[in-house]
Amino acid sequence: MLFWLHPWLPVSLRNDDLAVQHPASILVCNHQSFLDIYLLGAQQQSNLCLVTKHWPFHLLFFFAPAMRSAGYIDAENLPAEEVEAVCLQRLREGATLVIFPEGHRTRTGALGRFHVGAFHLAMQSGRPVLPLLVHNSFNVFPPHGKLFHPMRIRMEFLQAVYPRDFAATPLPHRAMMRYVRQLYATQLAAEAYS
């Protein structure tokens, strides 16, 4: 899909090597557009396992069978403990979990509040969180807009964040979540300023 869209939607990716260097990690991504899922195809880590809400399994009838066969995880169809157990199993099998910690697409373009699940998994598994920053996909398809706005999308892997660095803090997964969210906020603010 990215190949066919390239003339109108060129995608650049910085620090792509970080995805290859951190297999079986927890890849988190800010969520600006429905395109973000397809943009994951621009990076080199192939053993991805998305952790998503229930509706894509229900409404994306064309993709849902592929999502099921790829072992994507429906985070709303099981109790939280079972979702966590399945995620940990996927990590042990070598998959990289993909989680959008905002839980849904931004409606304003602003970075939303983060949920803590991805960082709880990092603490449980000892695996690093690998932040992927997406710039500009919000402006390509703004919510409630009817037009497609061709423009360059920039993606960038930030340095991996390790759970051991937060082990001494109270509620370490929350400290890790706040740290990673601040990374996003700083990078997005710098982008807006420039």
Partner: protein
């Protein structure tokens, strides 16, 4: 500890840890639907409240009926009345 102090301490603890707006912290606010806390947040919320009020919750089942912020104020008030917290 009077009821106003309980409300102030609960609100301060939750606002800081969960980055909630003070304006959202009203007694009728539903913890999941209005404050947007998920199941993992609620586990953390118990730890935050234990630290804020210096107690250790022995009976986790007593949390099952809590739906709103007002329920939390009531719950902490009951712990105070039982002498669990001061």
């Amino acid at each position: 500890m009077d009821n106003d102090t309980i409300v102030t301490k609960v609100n301060a603890a939750l606002a800081e840890e969960f980055e909630l707006e003070q304006a959202a912290l009203v007694p009728d606010a539903k913890i999941r639907d209005d404050l947007g806390l998920d199941s993992l947040d609620i586990v953390d919320m118990v730890i935050v409240l234990e630290k804020a009020f210096d107690f250790k919750l022995q009976n986790k089942e007593s949390l099952a009926a809590i739906r709103t912020l007002g329920d939390i104020y009531t719950f902490i008030g009951e712990l105070r009345d039982a002498g669990t917290i001061r």
